[in-house]
Amino acid sequence: MSELHLLSTQQLITGLQDKQFSSVELTEHYIKRIDALDSKINSFITHTSETARAQAKAADEMRAQGDQRPLLGVPMAHKDIFCTQGVLTTCGSKMLHNFISPYDATIVSNIDKAGMISLGKLNMDEFAMGSDNSSSYYGTVQNPWNLERVPGGSSGGSAAAVAAGFVPVATGSDTGGSIRQPASFCGLTGIKPTYGRVSRFGMIAYASSLDQAGSMGRSAKDCAYLLQPMIGHDPRDATSIKHDIPDYVQDLNDAEASAGDKPFAGLRIGFAKEYFSKGLDREVEQAVRAALKKYEELGATIVEVNITDPEVTLATYYMLAPAEASSNLSRFDGVRFGYRCENPTDLIDLYTRSRSEGFGPEVQRRILTGTYALSAGYFDAYYTKAQKVRRLIVRDFDEAFASCDVIASPTAPTAAYKLSENLDPATMYLGDVYTIAVNLAGLPAISQPVGLTSEGLPIGLQLIGQYWQESKLLSTAHLFQQHTDHHLQHSTIAKETV
């Protein structure tokens, strides 16, 4: 029982089906680990242990009565950006320090219907604005591989909790890399689906045209299991798209069953030299190139493609995302929910002090940047220009995909850095250089572990797919993981027993 937390989701499902352990035992195992070890990494904002215990007991009873839902009784946890009815939902902000959500996000109710057990709400950068989880009102999160390092962000708590062996899988959200970059920093696999694949209803908005929920786990198959109940059209989200619903796990199994010695025969991987230029850490580049070599050995063909200059992409993103944020966050005004300042003298004072006391510095910085970009006189020069460049970024991807099936890049230019490095905003934004184009184009992408630095820090490879091809990305990463063991390495905290 001491190593239950090192099992894959598939192994947990089999173990529950074969009665090797019960959901109650499994849930208690994870709760015990969280209680004993989370003080080291601060990955949870809210624990829901008592509800989880009751759900686990009910899951065991339902299974005994013949309920065959595969995920029944399997624990998980949610990024605290998803509204959970009756449970504190903070989005990492003082602004929502008292917000007990009156409703569930669609993905929360979907995962609940699949029978999974939520162990709580996970720490994150405030309103998902950050790349190292340093902007959370609830404190920084430490990387389970090295406590001096950041876990990435904004889904830093999700990544840290999975890497620490507190949950097998967790939800995340990705506006500019917020699933993929922390997955890379914490040695996990994480997928950001096609925009419109997963409902945004009940996911607190940062930049509505870019935000998309996804899943994080140790392997591609773990991600496939959690992503399955998350997808599908939702009439409550006008940007949710009606599309075919694949069976991701079945697709992975089929791909594995039909794979020969050269499982990637016929797969064309796009290599963009723009992704391997200045600013890329040498060890990261070596590991990513070695992974691509492995793909080649297993039958893939590497083809050179051109994509938009990453500096142009970065500028486009850091114009559009704050502009959308400044609009989205206007709803936090101290009137209907969330933080209200003490003794407001009039309505303007109520708005102004509630917002300046409730929002942290990074959120205020992005609201100001966005307000500036949208203000009279600057709108066309900044915002409209960025929207036009966004169309060109999509066009460049379309042209690249004419000659390849997926595009490879490092997920982040470096491995996890030290929290004490205290990067200025513009420098920190450069860390998103490989991930943001995917959000601007609305494409799906996956990050998978491909090695460790000499200091033992994980390195991630990103594969970008064409619209709606999450299954191809998951299968590609899964087949790679059948021939490598990078995803089987465990963090320092995961190796601790309690």
Partner: protein, 104 residues
């Protein structure tokens, strides 16, 4: 300003920060405004690169799928629970949100 920004345009002043903070209903003091002015000036410098991109004849892109918003049938669902929604409000009276008096 309809032309593309130049490096000198990106130097945001304290006064501009205080002005947009007022628009965004954020109350910040002058020293904080200076700090934000520095940070935002650095971010705006990233925007120079956009000036080199030829976007003549390119339409702005707002929604990636350029999908029309699907309209729902105009049918009342009665799925909003007023009391539950207002349970998270800072101040409510008789089903109404309370704010400081606006009209004397």
């Amino acid at each position: 300003m309809s032309q593309q920004p130049t490096p000198s345009d990106s130097n945001v002043s304290r006064e501009e920060i205080l002005d947009i903070a007022n628009l965004a209903r954020l109350g910040i003091d002058e020293s904080t405004a200076d700090s934000y002015a520095d940070d935002i000036s650095k971010v705006l410098k990233l925007m120079y690169t956009l000036g080199n991109v030829d976007t003549a004849g390119v339409k702005p892109l707002a929604n990636i799928h350029e999908a029309c918003q699907e309209l729902r049938a105009d049918v009342a669902k009665h799925d909003i629970n007023r009391a539950r929604n207002q349970s998270v409000a800072p101040a409510v009276e008789d089903g109404l949100y309370l704010v400081p008096q606006v009209i004397e």
